[in-house]
Point group: C2
Chain length 165, copies 2
Amino acid sequence: MVQHHPRANPLFLRDEELRQAIELLFYAYRDFTGEPDAILNKYGFGRAHHRVIYFVGRNPGITVSQLLRILKITKQSLSRVLSQLVREEFVAQRTDSDDRRRRMLYLMPKGEELERLLTERQSRRIARAYREAGAEAVEGFRTVLRGIINEEDRRRVTLAGSGRR
Amino acid sequence: MVQHHPRANPLFLRDEELRQAIELLFYAYRDFTGEPDAILNKYGFGRAHHRVIYFVGRNPGITVSQLLRILKITKQSLSRVLSQLVREEFVAQRTDSDDRRRRMLYLMPKGEELERLLTERQSRRIARAYREAGAEAVEGFRTVLRGIINEEDRRRVTLAGSGRR
DNA sequence: CATTTACGTCAGTCTCGTTGACATATATGC
DNA sequence: GCATATATGTCAACGAGACTGACGTAAATG
């Protein structure tokens, strides 16, 4: 499907290499979200609901504004899916006693169950890839992905989980 | 933000590790598409147009059905953006002389220019991450991403570009 | 010549992103 | 205490981009 002759010029390798990365990211993300999307469909939810459920499950007590900073969407976009999740009892809100303007978010049993279901699928996919690739490759995978993320958000994924291996 | 005590149980490490991967993918893809999205906006285009322009540029002469297999969207969804790109002269269609049912797709000058602009941004981001991570990490990054992709599509990103380092 | 393939299109639906304005409750600085 | 800032929610309106199912046409193919 791609028909350059290898090494047409000294820049070829680099350009080819970078395009390969672009495509890997596209295909990987496409398939990574494909399975959950299918499940969410049955619940009448979409990918946006998944993201909320995931990050609330991961950070119990997270506030709306913190969630907005993670998702980088507008208040309105979040509000639509969040209020639906609250209405259908997947997510609970509790007023923060320290600052009563804040609403802290938690998963309810239904939400935890769905979260487990979705995360399980994605984890299985990652675990398989990790197992096949080996520990060293995993470390490289993380390093490069971290480098792709805007600097101001890198800490979000580095505090926990790395550094031991 | 995450407040487990490390090593609560033997499964912790693995679960934590997998969740970290999930988050890395989310943030990386979010930021990876963020820049192009902003540019596309000025053209009145969206991410779907980007994907078409990218893959047509990458595979000159690609047919509609091949493109559908890559994007995994419906004919109707593709049709909307493709016909717009053709109408505005970013993409050209030419009937295949071998099989005159097929329409082969090519970028026109405007399309090439936009493709360059978008790919440049994404490439720059990847190149920076690659440079900072080193050759070994890059190899690991590719290996793991390939493992995440559904098997039937892995060859799409492996034929060219890998194996030399 | 019947069937399959490639492509396009019509109508309708839904999710999920956007903007801008406005309302309310609470916290905070002076 | 009052002005201001912050956290949240909500309304109306819009647009992109995914979906389904049906139908039509042209060309290839067995």
